[in-house]
Symmetry: C2
DNA sequence: CGCCTCTTTGAGCTCAATCAAGGTGTGTGG
DNA sequence: CCACACACCTTGATTGAGCTCAAAGAGGCG
């Protein structure tokens, strides 16, 4: 029964996530015990937009990008889901839920996939857990709202905010973005063109504000980035 | 005790909202009975961004716009809350909640204001109700996500989508937007300039696609508006 | 080794922003 | 009752941030 060993290990990982703070191992076993660990390769599809939603789950490691197709045919990245984030939970309560976005792995990632029914029967009975999910959703709305606020800001502010936003999702004070992020993905997330993103970030690299190695972006001068967020002219 | 009579009447209004579908009058009395009806004038402030959140509530009639200040000093409208929408509920579960946006009445409006504690004690115990709130949040996220998808679309598509999005929030098949909406507000909601919004909407007016009387926008040719949503060139 | 994805740089163009100026309606205080 | 302020709408002229197009180098992989 290797599978259940892996699952046991995963349940222990879950204890670190704030969604489950205050939960005991036995709670977790009830809430997630019937789950299945999905291991995704880079760029692999997890959920397809438009498909009926039979399951939801939690990001264990790595990251997933949630994206939609724009009318003009390219991707629009709507959110980056990092470890501890719940995917698709909040649509489980609909009568015939359908995934509203597609989810792709960014780098090798692991996901704990849980059947819809478990949400409707088990998760429903834990008000504190539902509150935690609300608070995750609230973060996500918050991030989207700030992005709306930055609509009229110059592109450099938007990029700076995006980097900070992702950094802040991780507890550590490290300034390396712990997920592989291409310029194209940044552009797709901001509704900008790759070229414009590259022009701004190249400039930052030259000025020693950031550093990129193999899609790992490191912020060298946090203060400068924070400055970029609010600067009106460049 | 006129107050309690008005409150009784309000509780009956609540029955029409889908958040409370399946609730009995006695449920509602428990959930909202300690509420207070707030009557707002046009442009009146309901909640101030940054203030500690002591209460949440439900829009009874009229509408409220949720907005934030942009770095450059003007407003960014983040959402239009219409009757049946819950405001600030999803931040109630935080330990020291603070309103993330400001809320202003659009035209004369009524709001049922409920103390935070009622949410934490009463609402918490109704899983189905929490699900309904999740579903409202889900609508809101959905709308924000589609807007992100339209980032690269021409302004006319964004305006068309906004009008349709608001219309769709009301059950009726009427094509009159039941809230006073200025060009400035449309611009602030889309991150565009007033002038650009006016140029596009004037054109639509001339072509008989829409009609405006005293900030009431009426869509005369729904099909044309839907067309505008996906058209790449104008 | 060819294919694919990602990055880079340059040149020109365009959509929408900005600036400017004028019109209308409403509320407010002298 | 008028004058003034203010919020909203409108139109025109000018400008610029960022898009598009084009071309090419640099890994990584079957």
């Amino acid at each position: 029964m290797e599978k259940s060993v892996a699952l046991q290990a995963a349940l222990n990982e879950l204890l670190n996530f704030k969604v489950f703070e205050g939960c005991s191992i036995s709670d977790l076993s009830e809430l997630c015990g019937s789950g299945e660990i999905v291991v995704s390769q880079h760029k692999e599809l997890l959920y397809q937009m438009g498909q009926p939603a039979e399951s939801f789950g939690i990001v264990l490691s790595g990251a997933y990008k949630l994206s939609r197709l724009t009318p003009s045919g390219d991707d629009a990245i709507v959110y980056f889901s990092t470890p501890g984030d719940v995917i698709a939970a909040f649509i489980m309560s609909q009568s015939t839920p359908v995934y509203p976005v597609s989810s792709f792995a960014m780098g090798p990632s692991r996901f704990l996939k849980i059947p819809k029914e478990v949400f409707l029967k088990k998760w429903k009975m834990h008000p504190d857990l539902l509150f935690k999910i609300q608070s995750l959703l609230s973060n996500r709305i918050g991030s989207l709202q700030i992005q709306k606020t930055l609509l009229k800001a110059p592109l450099s502010s938007k990029i700076a905010f995006l980097l900070m936003d992702i950094l802040n999702k991780y507890d550590s004070n490290d300034t390396v973005l712990p997920l592989p992020l291409t310029r194209k993905e940044i552009a797709d997330s901001l509704g900008a063109s790759v070229e414009s993103v590259i022009r701004i970030m190249s400039d930052w690299s030259k000025r020693g504000i950031i550093e990129t190695h193999d899609h790992q972006i490191k912020v060298l001068k946090l203060d400068k980035i924070i400055e970029e967020m609010s600067v009106t002219s460049s």
